[in-house]
Symmetry: C2
Subunit: 560 residues, 2 copies
């Protein structure tokens, strides 16, 4: 059963399928906000659309809503005052179920075609989404555009490609003929139907509302499931726009738009989400957020397949380097980028207490630590430039942590409040760096301190650093590990530590690639092999359980 | 990294990979106990090996055993008196962990090569395994040979093929080059390492110790995990032989044999298994058995990926037929085969109370019921022939159920104790058939009555029959659904019922194929879409979570 939208996007899909196998660089979505790609008026139109939405109800015709809900506040210093439909869970689930029954019958090519068309429309809305991401997460505009727009769309396409790849392996029919010696063979035709699990629930986070939600959303949709999108109460708008676009495409394609619905909530929605997540109709859950909430879902929502990305402790091991300055510059950028509010941002930097070898001789621990602090200081000293890198602080919890952590180590670099030139009310804070000792401060550095907080930690040796890195990744979770060494034996040991910790390794990053960055189609984001996540974005395991196969067999005449 | 055993079996693997995509008939293992395939003395040698083992300790050099354990009793009427090493869980886990570390480093081709070599050796031991299956499960010899030998080996190969297919999709290295406008591109090499989860625990059942355990065992092994095999206390020998062969192959290939170990237990091993299954080191569990035990694992062994096959209610819907006799004959065979002790055996047969249409006109409900009873009676009237079909009753629980159920409906055919001509002490009972009413007896027929127990159930209509079939499959679980109809509209409705119930459908079986039979490489056994099983044997979803991928990336010079 072909579908016009599948045919329309078949070439892009074929390229994506090739990309997930070869894992080189590829993206169909331009990460630069270029007028040539997006249109001369796209930037202005997108900003205008965002501004026009402020203070207004968000229009979304969907079942079972009464009144509005929403209390978003831009980290750049103003209230969004947008009212979203206040959906009633029973009505939403009933509507999703009814819509899914019809959608299910359309088959894999329709599911994939609709998903790809939604993605194309989202790409066109990248500017509007960028502003909405910026003013809910605190990301600077360029990052909000890239991570919230094309990079998130890349991750969605990647999930769709894996989903299609898994489904296309199942033949629609098969002819089975078993010899029976001298008797005529037994001959049967078998039909195989891909059957979605039912309804997926996608629970978004407040720092990367689209990037972290799109893989689950599109993996569900591409395998024929209905999806209820539950954004973080602090970052509803980017996903509300996404849902609106999805519903438009569904409707245009002749489907019930309730295949994709929005469950917007007020802050402190824990009880509501727990009740929703444990409903028998919810068969798939994708969650990004705290370890406490993720663990709760994994242990309580047993009726569903649950995919979680939770807290972790990302680490850097410095053993040796040709040039310390290049190392420090790269690390400083990683620490400063979006004020460390990335799940991939490093926190623990291990340096042997006896110093490291460089081309200029051994550099003592104190100098290494100071070099990193100086690089961060330099990157963040000019407020006008700094804010375009560090953005704003998403929530007060992050500011509280900065305050709290400062008492726990030896000060290396204090966090400073900056005044944003364009948004004087914005909450902007530069990173805090502390010196810790591996033998004394383990209670501090084995926790995740989400935000612009990092520790330079004195260890006994690089072997000790790697042992810590592997153990902490394995037991506390981690998405990234970075190592600097000029010694191939150390790099082999780092590989082994990465495998043991189940964490992705980056080696000697001193140029334009940063450990926080994860490129769709090439880098697997998270491994599923340590407590930071129980799945990878995206791989075959991420999609294969989102559908089942039901077969039917009957005798047919022998084919000659 | 190539491996000699991978190369040795590469052609078979390639054929298996083709088979799981095309899903026609294929098997590399001869299901007939032919001297030409297995060798002139194979039958006698296998029987002799089995007999020589009776009353003897089972030799298996493995870590941490003290004393012996084992209390198997052949359903054909004698004690096996075999003592298996009584393994100590702590020591077994420690040995498995150590062995797994080394095995892990050998990589996917070694894991797959070793798995395929074990399988080839198991095939050579098919006669010994057949006798061991016969005298633990109660299967007649031919079934024990086929289901316990070549068919189980087929299912193992299928799992290995899926595992290899999932792993080969991950490139070992990738070159990534991202353009940077006028600046030189960013260039990196990425390495991807397939990392097993750790230790798998395979929990066998007492009716199909090899067929149901091999998929999990080989899926684990082929993805580099160590495996602890925990047979049902009543059916240890077939898996003990399997473990012994696996250990021999591992040792010959230069690996620590503790990659595969045996955890034999005495009856009533529930507490021991629960303690083992919830150990943090156990990362994969494959279970076949009761719903109570399977549910317990799914809700308590949260540190592991848990794959379960549990109870279900298999159903037949009779709407209409060209010739009732052919229908009855086929159904009777399915009911009698191994005394209904198959997870795929039908239990509920729905017939409209107003009768069914046939080429000879409408046949009333009573006549349909009687026709099935007569066919069963005919199949089982001659004890010498009957025992080769129905085998023996595996355990007293089945006999108790026959007794218990008889009071719950209108007698149609009583169960009879037969005397086995060769084994006078064997426990042999023919099927019991009862008439029930869909409106009155739902409490009875919505339960699984495992064993030679079936109900002919009067319904309001075929629509009613299909509604029951879908609902019971969805809520109580089912592995098979069978429908008889000459009306394409009814068959379409049956397809929809099968999808809704998440159950495999067989249509108008009147010849040499029976609903209980599931052919490897062609039929998906279980769907994972209803409570009878949370996974299918086998598909991509069955293997994709048994390993993770850990990556490493570093800058390299630009390739031109």
């Amino acid at each position: 059963m072909n579908h016009a939208l599948f045919e329309k996007h078949e070439k892009t899909l074929a390229q994506a399928l090739d990309a997930i196998r070869t894992r080189g660089y590829w993206s169909p979505f331009n990460e630069m906000p270029s007028p040539r790609t997006y249109g001369e008026t796209a930037a202005a139109d997108g900003e205008a659309a965002f501004k026009a939405q402020l203070g207004q109800p968000f229009v979304l015709e969907q079942a079972g809503s009464s009144g509005t809900v929403g209390a978003e506040h831009s980290p750049f210093g103003f209230a969004l005052n947008i009212g979203y439909p206040n959906a009633e869970p029973d009505a939403l689930i009933a509507a999703a179920q009814a819509a899914q029954l019809q959608f299910r019958k359309a088959g894999p090519k329709a599911w994939v075609g609709v998903s790809l068309e939604i993605l194309a429309r989202l790409n066109q809305a990248s500017f509007e989404i960028a502003h909405s991401v910026m003013h809910t997460t605190g990301q600077a505009f360029m990052m909000a555009f890239q991570a919230g727009g094309p990079h998130a769309q890349d991750r969605a396409l990647e999930a769709i490609a894996y989903a299609w790849d898994a489904m296309r392996d199942i033949p629609q029919t098969a002819y089975w003929e078993k010899p029976q010696g001298k008797n005529p063979p037994l001959a049967m035709e078998k039909r195989f139907t891909v059957v979605p699990r039912g309804i997926g629930l996608v629970i978004g986070c407040c720092t990367f509302p689209t990037w972290n939600s799109y893989p689950g959303l599109f993996a569900d949709l591409a395998t024929g499931n209905a999806v209820i999108v539950k954004p973080h109460p602090a970052a509803i708008l980017p996903l509300a726009i996404t849902v609106r676009i999805a519903r438009q495409v569904l409707e245009e394609a002749g489907f019930d738009p309730n295949v994709v619905t929005l469950m917007a909530t007020a802050p402190n929605d824990g009880a509501l989400v727990q009740a929703l997540a444990t409903r028998d109709e919810i068969r798939l859950i994708d969650f990004t957020g705290s370890t406490a909430n993720g663990d709760w879902l994994e242990t309580h929502a047993l009726q569903a397949q649950v995919y979680t990305e939770k807290a972790g402790v990302n680490q850097i091991v410095i053993d040796s380097a040709d040039e310390l300055k290049a190392v420090s510059r790269n690390i400083a950028f990683s620490l400063a980028l979006y004020s460390g509010q990335m799940c991939t941002a490093p926190q623990n930097i291990y340096v042997p207490r006896d110093g490291i070898k460089t081309a200029q001789g051994t550099v003592p621990f104190e100098e290494v630590a100071q070099s990193i602090a100086d690089a961060v200081q330099k990157l963040t000293s000019d407020p006008a430039k700094a804010v375009e890198l560090i953005g704003a602080i998403q929530n007060k919890g992050v500011l509280d942590r900065i305050e709290q952590v400062t008492k726990l180590g030896v000060p290396l670099l204090a966090s400073q409040r900056l005044v944003h030139p364009a948004y004087p009310e914005a909450s902007v804070s530069t990173p805090v760096l502390l010196k810790l000792d591996a033998r004394r401060d383990e209670d501090t550095f084995t926790q995740e301190w989400f935000g612009p907080i990092a520790f330079v930690i004195a260890t006994d040796s690089t072997r000790h650093s790697l042992e810590l890195a592997a153990r902490i990744a394995r037991t506390r979770g981690a998405l990234t590990l970075s190592v600097y060494s000029t010694d191939e034996q150390v790099l082999d040991a780092a590989d082994e530590a990465a495998v043991s910790g189940g964490v992705a390794l980056s080696v000697n990053l001193t140029g334009g690639v940063f450990v926080n960055q994860s490129a769709a189609f090439s880098d697997f984001h998270a491994t599923g092999a340590n407590p930071a996540a129980n799945a990878s974005l995206a791989d075959t395991a991420f999609v294969a359980n989102r559908f089942r196969v039901v077969q039917s067999r009957r005798h047919v005449p022998q084919r000659t």
